[in-house]
Amino acid sequence: MDQLLNQEERDFAQHMRAFYRTEIPEEIRYRVAVGEELSKDDIVTTQRILNKYGYAVPNWPVEWGGQDWTPVQRHIWLEEMQLACVPQPLAFNASMVGPVIATFGSQEIKERFLPATANLDIWWSQGFSEPNAGSDLASLKTSAVRKGDVYVVNGQKTWTTLGQYGDWIFMLVRTDPSVKKQAGISFLLIDMKTPGVTVRPIELIDGSVEVNEVFFENVEVPVENLVGEENKGWTYAKFLLGNERTGIARIGMSKVNLARAKAYAAMTRTSRGTLLDDPLFSARLTKLEAQLTALEFTQLRILSTQVAGNDKPDPRSSVLKLHGSQLQQDITELLVDVLGPQGLDFIDNAATGDGFSDLPPASVDAIRDYFNYRKVTIYGGSSEVQRGIISKAILGL
C-alpha cells in the first residue's frame, strides 16, 4: 500500500508503525499475534496508552480528544494498529457510545462521560439486541417508563459482548409503545451496578464466555441519563451502526493471520515437502491472498473518494463487511487445516506431559477461533443484511 501514499501519508504511516511497536507492551502484542485471549487489563492498558497520545478516539470531535485527520489517515491509523497486533480501542466506547454522545448528547452529558469513555475509565457494554430483536432490532421490547425523575426499566438484552467487565451499558429502550416501532425508542445510559441489573454469561461453541444476557427488573434510571431527545433513539442507533460497519473488514488483521497460517504451513512436513508444496493447499492459500488484496484495494478505492469531514457511510462498505468477514472465516479454517489431527483438541494451553513432544503452534487457538469466527458473518449486520443493503441502496431492487 505504501507506494500509493503521498509523502505526508507515508511519513504518518511510518510514525504510527514506530509508535505502536515502541509504546504498546511487547507481551500484549505477542498475545494478539499468537491468538491468545486478552485480559481486561491488556485492553485497558493499551487504550490508556493510546489515549495519552491522542490515538484512542481519533474519530471523535477534536475538542473531545479526536484528531482532525483525513479518511486516509484514519485508515492508516487502524491498519498499522492491526499489523502491529495492537488491541483496538474498545469498540463500545470508541466507535459506538462515544460518537453518539459527542454528536447528540447535551454539554453536561458530554462532560460527564466523554473523557472517562476515551480513557476506558468506564467500560461500556452494548444493550441493543434482545432475544426476539436480532436483525429486526427495532422490534425491541425492553421498556422504560417515566416516573417522576426516573425511568423504570424492565426487560432483557442479549449478546452483550464482554458485559462481565461492563461498568455502564448504553441501551435502546422503548419509551412509547403506541407509535410505529422505530418512533418509540430512546437511547439510555445505565450504571450496571444499579439494583435490578443482572448479568448472566452465555457459553459459546468455542468455549468462550464473551457474551452475556443482561436482565433489568424495575431498574430506576435518572432521567438525566437519557441521550438526546426521548423517542429519537432509532436515529442515534442508525448513526452508531453506520460507524460500526467501517473498519469491520479487519483487513490488517486478516493479513497477519494469513501470514501466520502460511508460516506454519511452510514448516509443516508432508510427503511432498512442506504443506506449501501441496498443490491444492497452495491454490487455496493463493486465492485467499488474491481475495484479500482485492478487498484491500476496494477499501482504498472507497477511501480515495471519501472527502474529509464527510462521515456518511458509503453503501459500498457493505461489500467490505460481506467479503471481509468471509475472508476472516476462510483464514481461520485454513489454519485448522494446516494443523491437521493435532488441531482438533479443545485445550486451554499448550502444556504437554513430561516426555511428550511439544504441540505445534496455534494448536490452542485455531479450532477455537474457527468456531468463534462463525460470529463475524452474523454480528454488525449479518451477511444477509449486507446483501439486502447492497441490493436496495446500490442496485435499487
Binding site: 507506494q3 500509493l4 501514499l5 503521498n6 501519508e9 505477542y30 499475534a33 499468537v34 486516509v72 497486533c85 493479513k255 497477519v256 494469513l258 501470514a259 501466520r260 502460511k262 508460516a263 506454519y264 504451513a265 511452510a266 514448516m267 498443490p279 497452495s282 491454490a283 492459500l285 493463493t286 486465492k287 491472498e289 488474491a290 481475495q291 484479500l292 488484496t293 482485492a294 478487498l295 484491500e296 484495494f297 476496494t298 482504498l300 478505492r301 477511501l303 480515495s304 473518494t305 459500498r316 461489500v319 460481506l322 467479503h323 503452534p361 444477509e384 449486507q386 446483501r387 439486502g388 447492497i390 441490493s391 436496495k392 446500490i394 442496485l395 435499487g396 431492487l397
Partner: protein, 386 residues
C-alpha cells in the same frame, strides 16, 4: 492517495463512451458482428481519428505519448460496448511488441501506419500443442541471405484473418526470438476462424516464410511484459463488460414481472445480484491493481522496474478477474431466464466475451499455480517462529 482517473483520462473516458453510446449500440454491433469481416473499417477509422490507436506510443511515431492508464480507460469502455474491432490484437499486442522490442527503424516503419489506422497486426505466439506456453515454441527460425525464414504452425492468432503483419515467436539460437512476417509473403497461410465471442482469429502456417527479426536477442522478457500488459488490458475490458452485464441484469429484475410483481422483489434474486455486485467491486479493484503494476513500471526509471513483482501482481489480478467474469456471466444469464439464452438479447453476448477472456493468454488454474510458485502476495510470518 489518489486512485481516481486524472481529468484528462476522465475526458477520454467520456469521449469514448459517448461515441460508443451513439454509434455502437447493440443493433449497430449486431450488424458488424454479422458482416463478413466481423469488424468495421469505418469504426476503426474513427478510433484512429480520435487518436485511440496511438495512445501509448511516442510522439516520434505520431503517438499521443500517454501510457497504459489511457489504454485501460479505452479497454473498459470497449468492454462495456463489446467492441469487435482488433484493438487488442493490433494496438496492445502487435504494436506493443514492436514498441517494446523493435529497432527505431522498425518502429518508424510500422507504428505510424498502425496509429493512422492503415496497418493491422497480430501476435502469432501460441501453438497447437503448447496450450498457453510461450517459452518453448516449436516454430523455428533459420538465418537466410537477407534475414530469416520461419517454419511452424501458430494457433489462436487473434486478428489473424485481416492482419497485414504478424509478430511471430520462434526458436532461434537456443532462445525465443520475435520476427515480423508479412501476411502476403510466400509460405504464409491463414486458416480463418471465429471465436465464441465473435472476434476473428485463426491459425497460421509458416513454410520457410521470409521474416525480419524484431529487435534482437532473447525476447522472453519482452513477451512476458507485453502479455502482462495485455492481461491488464483484458482486466479493464472485463470490468466494462461485467459492469454492463450487472446493470442490465438489475434493470431486468426491476422490470420483468411474474406472479404479478417484478421478479426483483424476490430475496433469492436480490441476494445473488448483491453477491454479483460485491464480486464486481473486487474485479474493479484488481483491474486497478493490474493497471498500477503496468504503469508503475512505465513510470519507474529505466531498468528500475521489477519484472517479477509486475508479473505477480498481474497474475493476482487475472485470478480475481477470471473468477469474477465466470460468476457474473453465468449469473446474468440465469437471472434473465430464457431470454438470456437468445442471440437477440445482448446479455448472452456479454457472457460470451466474459467466457473467452478468462481463457485468453492463460487460464485461472495455471495463473493460480504460477502465482503460488512466485511466492504469492503475502510473506509468511509468525512471531514465535521469527
Amino acid at each position: 492517495m489518489d486512485l481516481e482517473l486524472t481529468d484528462e483520462q476522465r475526458e477520454l473516458k467520456s469521449t469514448v463512451a459517448r461515441l460508443l453510446r451513439t454509434e455502437y449500440d447493440p443493433a449497430a454491433r449486431e450488424e458488424i458482428l454479422r458482416s463478413e469481416k466481423g469488424w468495421s473499417e469505418e469504426k476503426w477509422a474513427s478510433f484512429a481519428e480520435m487518436g485511440l490507436l496511438g495512445l501509448p506510443f511516442s510522439e516520434d511515431y505520431d503517438g499521443a505519448d500517454m501510457g497504459f492508464a489511457e489504454v485501460a480507460v479505452v479497454m473498459e469502455e470497449f468492454g462495456r460496448a463489446l467492441v469487435l474491432e482488433p484493438y487488442l490484437s493490433t494496438v496492445v499486442l502487435g504494436a506493443g511488441f514492436v514498441d517494446a522490442a523493435g529497432t527505431p527503424e522498425q518502429k518508424q516503419s510500422i507504428l505510424p501506419a498502425v496509429i493512422a489506422g492503415e496497418k493491422l497486426l497480430a501476435f502469432a505466439g501460441y501453438e497447437p500443442t503448447g496450450r498457453y506456453d510461450l517459452n518453448a515454441p516449436a516454430t523455428t527460425a533459420s538465418e537466410s541471405a537477407d534475414g530469416y525464414t520461419l517454419t511452424g504452425e501458430k494457433s489462436a492468432v487473434l486478428g489473424a484473418p485481416d492482419a497485414h503483419t504478424f509478430v511471430v515467436s520462434a526458436a532461434v539460437d537456443g532462445t525465443v526470438g520475435l520476427f515480423l512476417v508479412e501476411a502476403d509473403a510466400q509460405g504464409v497461410a491463414v486458416d480463418a476462424r471465429i471465436q465464441a465471442d465473435g472476434l476473428r482469429t485463426g491459425s497460421v502456417t509458416l513454410s520457410a516464410a521470409p521474416a525480419q527479426r524484431l529487435g534482437h536477442g532473447d525476447a522472453s522478457e519482452v513477451i512476458g511484459r507485453v502479455i502482462d500488459t495485455a492481461n491488464a488490458a483484458l482486466a479493464a475490458e472485463a470490468v466494462g463488460a461485467m459492469e454492463a452485464s450487472l446493470h442490465m441484469t438489475a434493470e431486468y429484475l426491476k422490470t420483468r414481472e411474474q406472479f404479478g410483481a417484478p421478479i426483483g422483489v424476490n430475496q433469492s434474486l436480490q441476494h445473488r445480484a448483491a453477491d454479483a455486485y460485491a464480486t464486481l467491486e473486487g474485479a474493479k479493484s484488481m483491474a486497478l491493481y493490474a493497471k498500477l503494476a503496468i504503469t508503475g513500471e512505465e513510470n519507474a526509471d529505466e531498468g528500475a522496474g521489477d519484472a517479477k513483482s509486475r508479473h505477480r501482481d498481474v497474475l493476482a489480478a487475472k485470478l480475481i478477474i477470471d473468477e469474477a467474469s465466470r460468476d457474473i456471466s453465468q449469473e446474468s444469464i440465469q437471472m434473465h431466464g430464457g431470454i438470456g439464452m437468445t442471440m437477440e438479447y445482448p446479455i448472452g453476448h456479454y457472457a460470451k466475451r466474459l467466457t473467452v477472456i478468462p481463457r485468453t493468454f492463460d487460464d485461472v488454474d495455471t495463473v493460480t499455480q504460477d502465482l503460488a510458485s512466485l511466492g504469492g502476495l503475502i510473506e509468511p510470518h509468525a512471531v514465535e517462529l521469527s
